[in-house]
Symmetry: C2
Subunit: 127 residues, 2 copies
DNA sequence: TCGATAATGATATCCTATTATCAATAGAAG
DNA sequence: CTTCTATTGATAATAGGATATCATTATCGA
């Protein structure tokens, strides 16, 4: 809500940069770890604050998975879905989507959005 | 783990009955409310215990949705997915499934299971 | 009908992601 | 360089679902 200013800080820059470059959705813990390599002593609260602001600005989207901490990813990727590896717990983007999902729904049900989660073992952990 | 006995109680009977007859996945709160109509003073702990036991026995399955309490449903329904109404929060079964999901995944990724969640407004709330 | 003990219900506790608090720090305007 | 105050970081507090505890109750075999 605060329309206050928006000072440029190294921690925010680092976090934005990590999110921009990320090739998969990252949790707060992952963000903290990644950005900590550049920012000595980065705190969790700062990560949560930055994530909150970026969500408000619509620059990132939340990827929610049952029983898992929320992941975040750039919002400019277009419609897609996700895959979670049961070994390393990482979440990956899956391009494409079956849009014929709608026809599964009974009449009178209005579908506004959907999410598809795939679970299995990722390429790295398959080796 | 306990291989202990398994006494027949009215609360368990009521809960099993509610789950058997349910036409959609029910949360612990919904189970409690439904079964309370028959069992005076039914407690939450009992519902959790019954649900736990039924899960162990494989008689029911958990339906997990991000940010929502887990729902439970009979495990003999066959593969299907779910729809949640944004008005009443209820979850409904959606028959059928797009099995071509697998082909969306990059090579070397092994898909073991998937879940599809549809969100929108149910028939009742559409009126 | 008794007795051993599983099951129940009320409630305290845990868990874990997220938010709030507050003193210390550091952008940035002048 | 100073000053103002947004931002930070450490940590306490919150929230909500699920589990543990324990005295009381009720099931069921003898």
């Amino acid at each position: 809500m605060a329309t206050g200013s928006n000072r440029k800080t190294k921690q925010r820059d680092a976090l934005v940069s990590v999110l921009e470059r990320a090739e998969r959705p990252l949790s707060v813990a992952e963000l903290l770890e990644a950005a900590s390599k550049r920012i000595e002593g980065l705190g969790v609260a700062t990560v949560y604050r930055a994530v909150g602001a970026l969500l408000d600005d619509g620059r990132i989207d939340a990827v929610e998975i049952p029983g898992e901490p929320t992941r975040y990813e750039r919002s400019d990727k277009g419609h897609h879905h996700h895959f979670q590896c049961e070994k390393c717990d990482r979440v990956f983007d899956i391009a494409g989507c079956l849009d014929n999902l709608r026809k599964l729904v009974p009449p009178k049900f209005r579908v506004k959005q959907h999410s598809v989660m795939l679970y299995g073992v990722c390429a790295t952990c398959s080796r």
